[in-house]
Symmetry: C2
Subunit: 199 residues, 2 copies
DNA sequence: ACCTGAACACCGTTCAAGT
DNA sequence: ACCTGAACACCGTTCAAGT
């Protein structure tokens, strides 16, 4: 049992968050229980409520980290022409969702279970996932308005996300993955072909 | 309190399902509790387990009804050319999701919370939601293989679903809805333009 | 045979009490 | 001031006991 004052509140908050993230990764979202987290960090359940208002608040912070990780991966997938890059970005997104399935799924499974407001700092993290593809659309069709380009980026990105959501159910064979990739590429290429033909 | 033998097991099963569906519609998924259902039909909690193996089983049957309702709505949206019809189908899907938000959301929020197998009869209901748009793609590009057309239908339909999933958070203003519709139409038209140009 | 309802094993969350 | 841990209000699920 951890001694009093052995850690600052900030340290405990980080320990809770780390332990919670590890549980989601290793045992899945359904294993994320206050008592499990407490045992993992050597404190009792009550301690969690010193540093997070409730479990929903904790999950929001887990998801914030996941969004950061996705955004970081996407930043490394910006080579090539705008159209090539958009395709790479979408396949990178699929790749992240596959390799970090439990964390990825928690972001969307736990959205709006409560009717609590989404904080501004969290919305910014969501926006930063959309940002790279928006930037590529801006590059591709600079003559359009910002609203038009954002809508196009959103349509395509949400579309790719929809394919991931409905296709990723564990376990997947390599053939499954190839098929999912082919479906995403099909969506992206046809959309882009239609987009550049019209713009 | 209901008397013994007042209803057959089949009747009780229907009463449980009706009550559960009503609770989801009127109070949302979070209000769906075994004790609430029991109170509503005048039986005790134990009775629910006479007719459903557990809550997951019951929710599967609620979702089955929702999928039937979506398929029924889509069947009424098949007028016009293949391309017009595809656009109408997607907007009909959005319309259903909006008007029956809690039921629609339950289908996807509760997918794979347990790792139970999806029964064959349930998968058929999912397929019947994809069927109308697949049929339109078959009409549009009969020269392609069945697998190619199915992939295209799946890419577009999953894409539209993704826009709905990420855009529908209560409450929406009329302006929000117009924007969501515009995003869907943008996805569909660009995809179809790219598709017919290439096929 | 049908149905009850008390009981069990879990949950998240609180808060008076310890050091 | 920090942390405990017993307690509370809920859950889903079971099953011996009633009629």
């Amino acid at each position: 049992m951890a001694r009093r004052s052995e850690h600052s509140l900030e340290e405990i908050k980080a320990m809770v968050l780390d332990a919670a993230e590890t549980i989601v990764i290793e045992e899945g979202f359904s294993a994320l229980k206050a008592r499990n987290i407490a045992r993992e960090i050597g404190y009792t359940v009550g301690s969690i409520y010193m540093v997070f208002t409730n479990m929903a608040d904790l999950i929001l912070h887990i998801n914030a980290r996941t969004l950061d990780a996705i955004a970081a991966q996407l930043e490394q997938a910006q080579d090539g022409s705008a159209e090539e890059s958009i395709e790479t970005l979408t396949l990178t997104y699929l790749s992240y969702a596959r390799q970090h399935f439990d964390r990825w799924r928690t972001v969307f499974d736990y959205r709006r279970l409560d009717s609590a407001e989404i904080p501004g700092w969290y919305q910014e993290k969501i926006d930063s996932v959309f940002a790279p593809v928006e930037a590529r659309f801006a590059q591709l069709t600079p003559e359009l308005t910002d609203a038009d380009r954002k809508r196009a980026a959103r349509a395509l990105w949400c579309g790719v996300h929809g394919i991931c959501v409905l296709s990723l159910t564990e376990p997947q064979t390599k053939a499954d993955i190839k098929e999912i990739e082919a479906t995403i590429v099909l969506l992206v290429r046809n959309f882009m072909r239609g987009w550049v033909a019209h713009a």
